[in-house]
Each structure stands twice: as structure tokens, then as C-alpha cells.
């Protein structure tokens, strides 16, 4: 249904018109074999611990999500009303697959799940997020993360 022709108007027109930033270069970091990799998640669903204030619309901030945090402690404060939330209501893994990633660590597909995952507000202009990306990358390195899986809503 995220085929463009299946997105209802006027969301389809809005999505089609969104500018896509042109970033210099084509970075490519060779990844380690999955079985030896520690993987982190980065979601743009504006998830955060229940006790924290909502994301501000357009904010380039990020929130840290401990991998050990129960899904009942996470809520979503994404500003958009134009995406399905019923799946998230049933099962957080439909947009933030932390339980599934843990299962892949348990069966040896990956080496481990990062202790910390990350959340941002998906409606924010990515051109304002260069510093955010730098800080997240630094923290990923500090926790010896080999690769990050980015998950939209």
C-alpha cells in the first residue's frame, strides 16, 4: 500500500512533492559479516519513553531507546496523522522490530543487539540533522555497533 498509487490523496501528492535532499558523495562503509555484527535500530517514528515529553515538530533531536526497555514504556509522538498507527498499537515490532532483532541475536544470525537504539522525528528536514547524525554515529562507535538499521513510518 505504500505503492504511490495506493496512498490516499492528498497525502500522495504531498509525499510525491517532498524534496529529497541531494547530499554530496556516495558513502559506502564495508560491513562485517552479519554473524559477527552488533546491530542498532534507528526509527523515525518519534518513539520515546513514556516519561519523556513529546518530540517537537521539526526538531532535529534524537532520543535514546534502551534495548531492554519494555514496549509498554514507549509511546509515539510523531506529528503526522497520515500514517497507520493500528499496527503499532497491536505490536511495536511492526515499526520498531527490537524483539525480532533480539531473536536474530539469539539464533546467531547477528552477534548482538546494541544496548541503545535511537529515535528521531520523521517529519524533520534531514538537512538539519547533520549534527544529529554525527552524535548518533559517535555513540554507536562507543557501544561498538557495526551497523544500523533505519526504520521509517
Amino acid at each position: 500500500m505504500a505503492r504511490m498509487e495506493e496512498i490516499p490523496e492528498p497525502t500522495r501528492e504531498h509525499v510525491a512533492a517532498l524534496s529529497c535532499p541531494e547530499l554530496p558523495g556516495s558513502p559506502w562503509v564495508p560491513a562485517r559479516r552479519l554473524a559477527t555484527s552488533r546491530i542498532a535500530l534507528l526509527t523515525s517514528a518519534a518513539l520515546h519513553p513514556r516519561a519523556q515529553p513529546p518530540f517537537a515538530a521539526g526538531s532535529p533531536e534524537f532520543r535514546e531507546l534502551s534495548s531492554a526497555l519494555p514496549s509498554s514504556d514507549l509511546i509515539m509522538s510523531h506529528i503526522s496523522i497520515n500514517f497507520d498507527r493500528t499496527g503499532f498499537q497491536r505490536d511495536i515490532n511492526v515499526c520498531y522490530p527490537v524483539d525480532r532483532l533480539r531473536e536474530l541475536a539469539d539464533d546467531g544470525t547477528i552477534a548482538s543487539v546494541a544496548p541503545t537504539n535511537y529515535s528521531v522525528m520523521g517529519s524533520t528536514d534531514p538537512l538539519t540533522m547533520t549534527a544529529t547524525a554525527r552524535v548518533i554515529a559517535d555513540r554507536l562507535r562507543q557501544e561498538e555497533v557495526d551497523a544500523v538499521l533505519l526504520c521509517p513510518v
Binding site: M1, A2, R3, M4, T11, L18, C20, P21, L23, S26, P27, W28, V29, P30, A31, R32, L34, S37, I39, L42, R50, P53, P54, P70, S72, I75, S77, I79, I81, N82, F83, D84, R85, T86, G87, Q89, R90, N93, V94, P97, R100, E103, L104, T109, I110, P126, L127, M129, T130, A133, R134, A137, D138, L140, A147, V148, L150, C151, P152, V153
Partner: protein, 245 residues
């Protein structure tokens, strides 16, 4: 997310991005991308189906082992089955249960919504038990508190925020999310599960809560308060449902 993947990869960390809008991925060119044909909001497709989610996750992570960069873009081959409407699904609360005449004062809205909420509440409790959690809570207000607060905007008031650190406009905005979540969690409490489209059509066309959000939207459009005008007019009611269909 494709652009953020590029920014992080440029910092020396390998990335793979799951994407919902293929034209954006084609234009932005993240290093490794998996386009998935699922609705916005569901990048791993099927709620409550670990097997389906694992298929998507394994496919995405497998791109990390590709060596033919700097741009790898693949398509996930299968649709998510639960996107199709559930034949014969009937909501436990339907249009015929509600008065055709909308409340005309904040007090009347509060009372009428209180009646509807009392009918929703048992199913919502069942949903909490079934799913092990609720996604409500962003506004920090209980539904009845929020309705009492938000109804004041309908008569032109611009009341101070009752929540420390949150503007009145955001209290209205996130309280609307909480109210809708309460209803849509409740309607999913029992099998058979409705499709996302069935949930949307039910909520927006057959509940007084949706009528209340539409009334708030109209109040916001004509309000002098810029924050309320923006939040209320753009972020309360999806465009397909600004009128009951």
C-alpha cells in the same frame, strides 16, 4: 530516512534502510535500501506476525553483506496480507448508536462523549490485556480531562495549558491522538481483526469522538491563536475524513 542513512554512513557506520516510498529512495540513493510495499506506518508489514517481520528484517540485514555498492536498492516481494478488509467484520459500536444531532455546548460534548467512552472502556481494557500495553499517554491527560479542556476551544476560549512544558496547541494535538488511540485500540480487542482501512472508516464515520475532532478542527481554522490554528487545522483530522463520508 534515506538521507539520514547517507549522513550516518558518511560518519563511518554501515547502514541499511527500510523504505516505504520508493521514488524517495531512488532520488536520495541510500547505500543499502529495501523498499517494502506496506502502508505508511508499517515498515515491517504484519502486526503480530513475528514470522513475517523476520522475513523483512532478514532481507534488510542481508543487504549489509552485499559488496556491490555504493547504492543497493532491492524490493521486498510480498504484500502484507492483513491489509485487505476482513470480510463480514462488524464493529461493536456502530453509527446507529449515536444521535444525529451533535452536542451544542462544551458541557453537552463532555456528557455525550462520556457516554460513548463508557461504552468503549471495557473493550479498551480488553485491548490493553491483549496487547500488553496502551499507546495512549502523549498528552499526559486522562480522556475525560482532555475532553473538558479541549471543549473550551470550541467556544472561542484559549485556555492555559494544564500540562507543564506543553503548549495548549500540543495538548490539543496529542490529546486527540490519545483519544483516537483509545478507540482504535478498543476496536481491535477481539477477533476477527479489522483491516487498518476498516478501523479508519469506523472511527471517522461512526463515532462521536471523530465528530468532536472535526468540530475542534473547524474551531482551529477560525482561531486567532496561531499554534492552535496550525495544530488544529492540519494535525487533527486526516484530509479524507474532514467530513463524514
Amino acid at each position: 530516512m534515506s538521507a539520514l542513512a547517507l549522513l550516518i554512513e558518511a560518519q563511518g557506520i554501515a547502514t541499511v534502510v527500510v523504505g516505504l516510498i520508493r521514488p524517495h529512495m531512488e532520488r536520495t540513493k541510500p547505500p543499502r535500501g529495501l523498499w517494502v510495499p506496506f502502508p505508511l506506518g508499517r515498515p515491517f508489514g504484519e502486526a503480530g506476525s513475528p514470522a513475517f517481520q523476520l522475513r523483512v528484517l532478514r532481507y534488510a540485514l542481508s543487504l549489509l553483506e552485499r559488496e556491490d555498492g555504493p547504492v543497493v536498492l532491492e524490493d521486498f516481494p510480498d504484500d502484507a496480507p492483513s491489509m485487505r478488509d476482513t470480510p463480514g467484520w462488524q464493529p461493536f459500536l456502530a453509527d446507529g448508536d449515536r444521535s444525529a444531532i451533535l452536542p451544542s455546548s462544551p458541557e453537552a460534548w463532555k456528557n455525550a462523549l462520556g457516554v460513548e467512552l463508557s461504552r468503549i472502556a471495557p473493550a479498551w481494557e480488553a485491548a490493553r490485556r491483549r496487547f500488553g500495553r496502551t499507546t495512549t499517554g502523549a498528552s499526559r491527560l486522562a480522556p475525560a480531562e482532555w475532553i473538558t479542556y479541549a471543549a473550551r476551544f470550541l467556544v472561542g476560549e484559549l485556555p492555559d495549558s494544564p500540562v507543564d512544558g506543553m503548549s495548549p496547541a500540543l495538548v490539543v494535538r496529542f490529546g486527540a491522538d490519545d483519544l483516537k488511540a483509545l478507540y482504535t485500540e478498543a476496536i481491535q480487542a477481539a477477533d476477527p481483526m479489522p483491516s487498518p482501512a476498516q478501523v479508519d472508516r469506523w472511527f471517522w464515520n461512526q463515532t462521536l469522538a471523530a465528530d468532536f475532532l472535526r468540530a475542534l478542527r473547524l474551531a482551529a481554522i477560525s482561531a486567532d491563536h496561531p499554534g492552535f490554528k496550525t495544530a488544529g487545522s492540519r494535525f487533527l483530522v486526516p484530509a479524507p475524513f474532514v467530513t463524514r463520508t
